[in-house]
Symmetry: C2
Subunit: 107 residues, 2 copies
DNA sequence: TCTATTCATTGTAATATTGCGATGAATAAA
DNA sequence: TTTATTCATCGCAATATTACAATGAATAGA
């Protein structure tokens, strides 16, 4: 009925799906890639970089923050965002584990 | 207005987002994991395994197939699904590339 | 204090996703 | 041919996502 049956799956499956959802929009991929490239924390001149409205960028940042992939700190009147290393590594390991668990042997 | 502005992003960003979207539902994660575990091709006794309706499973399989992560071959009256090794490795490399491109150095 | 800047939040509209019952196509077996 | 099995697709309802303009909160500087 339009709502995911999360009760049917393990918490690990649900968590992986949530992280994947964070990457499941090109704008968020672009934000992540830009944050990695810029290394030091960057605020929403992402608006200029991406060409989306400020409110839209803010919303995507919120989603990335909600899964912990990025962190934001107040920097005067602006906001400083950066990759959250701890979560990033956890996600990296989880993804690697899944990707490596497949060993080609097919029909 | 509710439709992703794919025109603003690179094709690589859009493609990665599409793959991520395939993983962005616990049922699809579960299907992938089951296919990996079962190794040989499996039809929709996924229905029994997951507890979702047959039509719903079929829809998820369709989405996984549409991004190429799985392949299906007719097997008499049933359908044999399996991981598509080629696409899997491409995705694996792309994900690894992104995950490895981050080098902790934050605010 | 007043103004400008930066960003989050709210509200709204358009579109996409999720889930399932019902139906139909295809094959296998009786 | 008839029946059973397996699956895809259609149609519907509920919910989620995407995008943006407008508004508001917070800070910096004049």
């Amino acid at each position: 009925m339009g709502v995911s049956r999360t009760d049917l799956f393990t918490s690990e499956q649900n968590e992986l799906a949530l992280v994947a959802k964070a990457f499941a929009h090109p704008a968020r991929v672009a934000i992540i890639e830009y944050l990695i490239k810029a290394n030091q924390c960057i605020n929403s001149d992402l608006v200029e970089e991406l060409g989306l409205a400020q409110a839209t960028i803010s919303q995507h940042l919120k989603e990335l923050k909600s899964v912990g992939l990025i962190a934001g700190t107040v920097e005067g009147t602006s906001m400083c965002y950066c990759i959250n290393a701890e979560v990033w590594n956890k996600v990296k390991n989880r993804l690697q584990g899944l990707m490596d668990s497949y060993d080609p042997n097919c029909c």
